[in-house]
């Protein structure tokens, strides 16, 4: 069976616990990081466990890259140990009676694959010096990196990660994040990543699925989904848009770096990044202001032509404006009075002034 012919993930589950019901019908991309996002109790971990087969939804359908793993219409359910997946648990869940090496080889021995050279994975996750150690002697961050390597060593068709950073303190999170960033750039398989952290969404997601009380509220590419006016996140005080950009050139005399995106460019404080490197830029909605004409004289560097695509009233006197710049959406929070004075309407051509940006990786 060719895996390229059908590179997507199709997942339909209906699971009723009485006080909680998971009911989803999703088509997810076959590459990149899809974040399953929601508050605790939204069903995101249950959904991941159903995909892994650790939990069985009585009515379900799951196909990953052309492999059918569950289809209750045909009474088909492939048990977890026969699914080509990698799973990273919230608290690493290493086998305490095996060394790091023993943990890494546990799955490999059983997968029927030829003994693989683990060096690239060990280097990617920076754990090559830990092989002889027992899990007890590792820090939380090291344990989680070993757990990720253990899942990847099997060469799975999909990597499932259940809040891999949630049990780590701030310092350990910072320690492991660069590795996740590298994974993101290297992996060719789809990653489904469960989290309740907006920070992790902004840093890692290519694709976002928002869950609430067992239902999918919104799903789609990250920038589009984060800027949808019908999801609560767009209205929160820290609402923001995330853009994927590439470094275009450096203006060394001004200590600036210009980054390009589909339909424009931005000037950022100088970055130690090579030309062509890809970056994520986060723009807070409250750092975006709108004017009808191109400002003739302004200290703000990033003024971009935009069009208004949608508007909504926020709950504390502000308006949430959704703009489109080139092919990217941008959220702006302005006061309701400003919106009225400018006479903003969907479809209008305006200028967006971006007062500040932050780099996520």
């Amino acid at each position: 069976m060719s895996h390229d012919a059908n590179p997507t993930i199709a997942a339909r589950f209906d699971l009723d616990y009485g006080d909680f019901r998971l009911n989803v019908d999703l088509i997810l991309p076959g590459r990149g990081v899809t974040v399953l996002f929601g508050h605790s109790g939204s069903g995101k971990t249950t959904l991941l466990r159903c995909i892994a087969g650790l939990q069985r939804a009585p009515k379900g359908f799951l196909r990953i890259a052309g492999d059918l793993w569950q289809d209750d219409a045909r009474d088909l359910f492939v048990p977890t140990h026969k699914r080509a997946l990698g799973y990273v648990f919230q608290d690493a869940n290493l086998f305490p009676h095996l060394s790091v090496d023993g943990n890494l080889r546990f799955g490999l021995k059983r997968s029927g694959q030829p003994p693989a050279d683990l060096t690239p994975i060990l280097e990617l996750l920076g754990i090559d010096h830990l092989l002889k150690r027992m899990p007890d002697g590792l820090s939380g961050g090291e344990r989680q990196r070993v757990a990720i390597a253990r899942a990847l060593a099997l060469n799975p068709q999909v990597l499932l990660m259940d809040e891999p950073l949630a049990s780590l303190d701030f310092k350990r999170k910072r320690e492991i994040q660069p590795y996740l960033g590298r994974l993101h750039q290297t992996l060719k398989i789809p990653v489904l990543y469960v989290t309740h952290s907006q920070q992790e969404v902004a840093q890692l997601a290519d694709h976002l699925v928002m869950l609430h009380e067992g239902q999918v509220v919104a799903a789609g590419p990250l920038a589009e989904t984060l800027s949808r006016l019908d999801v609560p996140q767009a209205h929160e005080r820290d609402a923001a848009t995330v853009w994927a950009v590439a470094v275009a050139d450096h203006e060394t005399e001004f200590h600036l770096t210009r980054v390009a995106f589909d339909g424009g460019s931005l000037s950022l404080p100088q970055l130690p990044a090579q030309i062509g490197a890809s970056l994520r830029v986060q723009i807070q909605a409250r750092d975006v202001s709108i004017s009808l004409q191109a400002p003739a004289a302004t200290s703000i560097l990033n003024v971009l032509p935009a069009s208004v695509t949608a508007m909504a009233d926020g709950d504390d006197g502000h308006s949430v404006i959704r703009l489109r710049i080139g092919n990217l959406p941008l959220l702006a929070h302005i006061t309701r009075k400003s919106a009225a004075l400018l006479g903003l309407q969907p479809g209008m051509a305006v200028y967006a002034q971006i007062k500040a940006t932050s780099i996520l990786n």
Binding site: P96, F106, R110, A151
Partner: protein, 228 residues
């Protein structure tokens, strides 16, 4: 000093206890695994049945076994029909009775350590391509090692020390069913106090050593706690 008779009873006792322990581990492992993980409503009844010998007077258990395995009991009729004769007052009968009598001392530590493992390592193993049976041998057994040690030691030691069941089911046949505890009783009845002293001291030293080894080992592996 120990007479040859005393040494024969010691040897018989260890053979009964050793064989009973092996059988209890083989029967007790799946039983404890099932009890530790089943949501079944039969679990309560099974737990109670397994634990019954803990509270039942040994003579009561011995009496029922005698009746069941005797020539007129259902088990006795079955064993006779199979050509094995009847079990009471034989070595095999003694082993069967010991297994039933000491089973809670094997099942409970195993059940506790299986429950302590939880479902997490099992799920990790499943995501790493291990079938349930493979997981049992490669993950559960190593993690439950302290539980198995406790179970084996307690099961063995408890069988060595039994008296009531032995007297009811086994009787007092030299080299066949006469165990140490009965031999001590015989010595006391015959007013052979020095002999009784020697055997009693042997059992005391044995029991103390066993418990000492057990609790020192458990200090380093605090996973399993005998519930008894």
């Amino acid at each position: 000093m120990l007479t040859p008779d005393d040494i024969a009873t010691l040897w018989l006792t260890f053979r009964v206890a050793g064989l009973a322990t092996v059988i209890m581990l083989i029967l007790g492992t799946p039983l404890a695994w099932w009890l530790a993980r089943t949501p079944s409503r039969w679990k309560g009844i099974c737990n109670a049945l397994v634990a019954l010998p803990l509270v039942l007077p040994p003579t009561v258990l011995g009496f029922y076994l005698l009746v069941l395995m005797g020539p007129k009991g259902p088990v006795g009729k079955l064993t006779s029909a199979l050509g094995w004769g009847t079990l009471p007052f034989t070595f095999n009968g003694l082993v069967v009775a010991s297994v039933l009598y000491s089973l809670p001392f094997v099942v409970q530590p195993l059940q506790t350590s299986f429950a302590a493992i939880g479902r997490q390592p099992l799920e990790a193993a499943a995501t790493l391509r291990a079938s349930p049976l493979d997981t049992f041998f490669s993950v559960v057994l190593p993690l439950a090692k302290p539980g198995f040690m406790t179970a084996a030691i307690l099961g063995f030691a408890h069988t060595v020390g039994e008296f009531g069941v032995v007297l009811m089911v086994g009787g007092n046949i030299p080299d066949e069913t006469r165990m140490v505890s009965v031999q001590i009783y015989n010595h006391v009845e015959a007013l052979q106090y020095p002999q009784a002293h020697w055997l009693a001291a042997c059992l005391l030293a044995f029991s103390f050593t066993v418990l000492l080894v057990l609790y020192s080992a458990l200090k380093t592996h605090p996973v399993a706690h005998p519930m008894t």
